[in-house]
C-alpha cells in the first residue's frame, strides 16, 4: 500500500499549498503577540519610510519644477539691428546644450514689465512711444545644471549687452535640492535595514517557539521545503499586513493634507504638492514590495538555522 509519496515530488500539489497557507495563517494567530510585534515593527518602519518617500518625491517634484523655471535672460545692445538680432539668435541656437530660445522684442518686454507691476503700471503709461528697454532672448538649457556654462558662452557674443540668470541663487538651489535628495536616500536605506533585522529577529523568536514541531517534522521525513513553506507564508503575511496599515494611513493622511493646503493656500503657485495619484500608487507599490521582501527574507533567514537537525 503506497501510503507515502516517496518520489521527491517537486511540483507542489494544490492540497499541500493550501495546507501551507492554512498553517501560515494559523501560526500567525497562534503566536498572537509576537506576530503583533512583528507586524507593528513593519508598520512603524514602513510608515516612517512612506512619509520619507512622499517627502522625497515632493521635494524632487519641487526641485524639478524650480529647475525648470531657471532661464537665462539675454539683453541685447539697444543699437543692434534686426540682422544682428538674427545672428545672435543663430549663435545661441548653435550651442548644443540649449533647448529653446525665445525672442522677446522690446515692446513685449515692456508689456511684461508693466504687467509685473500690476496696479502701478499707469506710471509707465506712454513709454511705448520711446521704449527704453532692449530686445531680449529667453534661453532655456536642456539640463538646468548647464545654465552657468551656457550663460558664460552667450556673454561673449557680439551685441549681447548683459544677461541675467540669477547667478549664485541657482547654484545654491541645486546644492540644496541634491543634498536633500541624498539625505533622503540615506535615511530610507537605513530605515529599511533596521526593519529587516527587527522582523528577522521577531520571526526567529516565533520559530524558536516551534522548534520541537520542526524537529519532529524532520524526524518523520518532511522535506526542508515542506518545513519552510508555512514560515514563508507567515513572513509574507506579516510583511503585507505590516505594509497595508501604513498605506491606508498615508493615503488618507495625504488626502487630508492636500485638502487642507488647497483651502488655506488658495491659488498659490509657490506651494504645489504632487497629486494623490499616481503618487500613492507608487508609494503603495514600493511599501508592499518592501514589506513582502522583508517578511520573506526575515522568515527564510531565521528558519535556515533550524533545518540542520
Amino acid at each position: 500500500m503506497p501510503v507515502t509519496n516517496r518520489e521527491g515530488n517537486t511540483a507542489m500539489k494544490i492540497r499541500t499549498l493550501r495546507r501551507h497557507v492554512r498553517e501560515g495563517v494559523k501560526n500567525l494567530w497562534r503566536n498572537g503577540w509576537m506576530s503583533f510585534a512583528s507586524i507593528s515593527a513593519v508598520t512603524i518602519t514602513l510608515l516612517i519610510l512612506g512619509v520619507f518617500l512622499i517627502l522625497a518625491m515632493n521635494i524632487n517634484y519641487f526641485a524639478q519644477s524650480v529647475e525648470k523655471q531657471v532661464e537665462i535672460r539675454v539683453f541685447l545692445d539697444v543699437l543692434a539691428t534686426q540682422d544682428h538680432v538674427k545672428q545672435v539668435e543663430e549663435n545661441i541656437k548653435a550651442i548644443p546644450e540649449v533647448s529653446s530660445v525665445e525672442f522677446i522684442p522690446k515692446d513685449e518686454g515692456l508689456r511684461q514689465f508693466k504687467e509685473s507691476l500690476g496696479e502701478k503700471a499707469y506710471l509707465f503709461e506712454g513709454l511705448e512711444e520711446d521704449n527704453p528697454l532692449p530686445d531680449a532672448f529667453v534661453v532655456k538649457t536642456k539640463d538646468p545644471k548647464q545654465t552657468a556654462a551656457v550663460a558664460a558662452k552667450i556673454k561673449n557674443f557680439q551685441y549681447v549687452e548683459s544677461l541675467n540668470y540669477g547667478e549664485g541663487t541657482v547654484e545654491k538651489l541645486f546644492a540644496w535640492t541634491s543634498a536633500l535628495r541624498n539625505v533622503g536616500i540615506v535615511f530610507i536605506a537605513g530605515l529599511g535595514f533596521t526593519a529587516m533585522f527587527l522582523i528577522a529577529n521577531t520571526i526567529k523568536l516565533t520559530i524558536v517557539a516551534r522548534r520541537r514541531e520542526i524537529e519532529i517534522m524532520k524526524l518523520v521525513g518532511a522535506t526542508n521545503w515542506f518545513i519552510r513553506w508555512p514560515f514563508f507564508v507567515e513572513g509574507l503575511l506579516m510583511g503585507i499586513i505590516g505594509a497595508l496599515i501604513p498605506i491606508i494611513l498615508l493615503t488618507s493622511g495625504y488626502y487630508y493634507l492636500l485638502d487642507a493646503i488647497k483651502s488655506s493656500f488658495e491659488a498659490s503657485q509657490l506651494f504645489t504638492l504632487l497629486p494623490l495619484f499616481p503618487l500613492m500608487y507608487q508609494v503603495s507599490g514600493a511599501l508592499l514590495a518592501i514589506g513582502a521582501f522583508i517578511g520573506i527574507w526575515g522568515s527564510l533567514v531565521s528558519v535556515r538555522r533550524f533545518l540542520r537537525v
Binding site: 509519496n5 492540497r15 520541537r212 524526524l219 518523520v220 521525513g221 518532511a222 537537525v309
Partner: protein, 230 residues
C-alpha cells in the same frame, strides 16, 4: 536479507571526543537488537548515525538500500521515511490531540489524505489507544504517551524502528507494556534496534545484545544478557 550494515565507522565530534572507533555490524531484516553499554560509551551516537542525525567521520553505513554516510542533504527525508524513531521523552506536540499527533507524521510527508484516517485509527488500535484519540498528551499517562509516540513511528509503515531508551522515563509495569508492544511489532516483521539501560528487560526478554564500550563493540551475542551492574 541485511537491512543495516556498518563498515569501520568512526565518529569524532568537533570537540575532539572519539565517540565511535571502528564499528562493524550487520543487522538482518526482522531482527530485534538491544544496544547496551555504560553512559557516554557511544550508544546514542550509534543510534543517531542510523537515522542520519549524525554523519560518520569515517566509514560506510548502509540502511535499506541507502548509503546513509554518503547521501545528499535533500535525500535525508527519504531515508527517514523508512525509519520510525522513538525517544525517551516521547517528543509529542502538546497542542495536538493523540489522533493529530499521529496523523501529523503522515501529513508532513504528503500522504494521500484519504488514507490518513483509516491508517491512523489502525495504528492507534495496535497500541490500544483508539478510545483516547481525542485527548491531549497532557491528559495521558507516561506509558500512554509513549504508545502514541510508537504509533506515530509506525504510521508510515517503516521497515525499521529505532528506539533510544524508550522505557527510560517509565515505571516497571508500564515499561513491560511498551516492551510487549515492541515485541508484537517485531513479530509482524519490523526490525527493532533499541538502546536501553533496563537490565531486567534485557535479561528477561532475550534478544540479540550489542554492547558498546569506549566507542567499540565489546560484545555481540544472540539471546545475550545485559551484563552490567547498574
Amino acid at each position: 536479507m541485511i537491512l543495516i550494515e556498518m563498515f569501520d565507522v568512526w565518529k569524532t565530534y568537533p570537540n575532539g571526543t572519539h565517540a565511535l572507533k571502528g564499528i562493524n555490524i550487520r543487522i538482518e531484516k526482522g531482527e530485534f537488537v538491544y544496544v547496551v553499554g555504560p553512559s557516554g560509551a557511544g550508544k546514542s551516537t550509534f543510534i543517531k548515525l542510523m537515522y542520519r542525525e549524525e554523519k560518520p567521520t569515517k566509514g560506510q553505513i548502509f540502511l535499506g538500500g541507502f548509503n546513509v554516510s554518503r547521501i545528499k542533504e535533500r535525500q535525508i527525508p527519504l531515508v527517514r521515511r523508512s525509519i520510525g524513531v522513538v525517544f525517551q521523552d516521547f517528543k509529542l506536540l502538546p497542542t495536538l490531540t493523540v489522533y493529530e499527533n499521529v496523523a501529523f507524521a503522515m501529513e508532513v510527508i504528503e500522504a494521500n489524505p484519504k488514507l490518513i484516517k483509516p491508517r491512523v485509527m489502525d495504528v492507534l488500535g495496535l497500541v490500544k489507544l483508539k478510545h483516547k484519540a481525542k485527548m491531549l498528551p497532557s491528559e495521558l499517562s507516561g506509558g500512554e504517551q509513549q504508545r502514541v509516540a510508537l504509533a506515530r513511528a509506525l504510521v508510515n509503515n517503516p521497515g525499521i524502528i529505532i528506539a533510544d531508551e524508550p522505557t527510560g522515563n517509565l515505571d516497571p509495569d508500564t515499561s513491560w507494556e511498551i516492551m510487549h508492544l515492541f515485541e508484537e511489532i517485531n513479530q509482524r516483521g519490523t526490525t527493532v534496534v533499541m538502546a536501553t539501560h533496563n537490565r531486567e528487560i534485557v535479561n528477561t526478554m532475550r534478544k540479540r545484545v550489542v554492547a558498546i564500550e569506549a566507542g567499540q563493540i565489546a560484545r555481540d551475542e544472540q539471546r545475550g544478557e545485559y551484563g552490567y551492574e547498574d
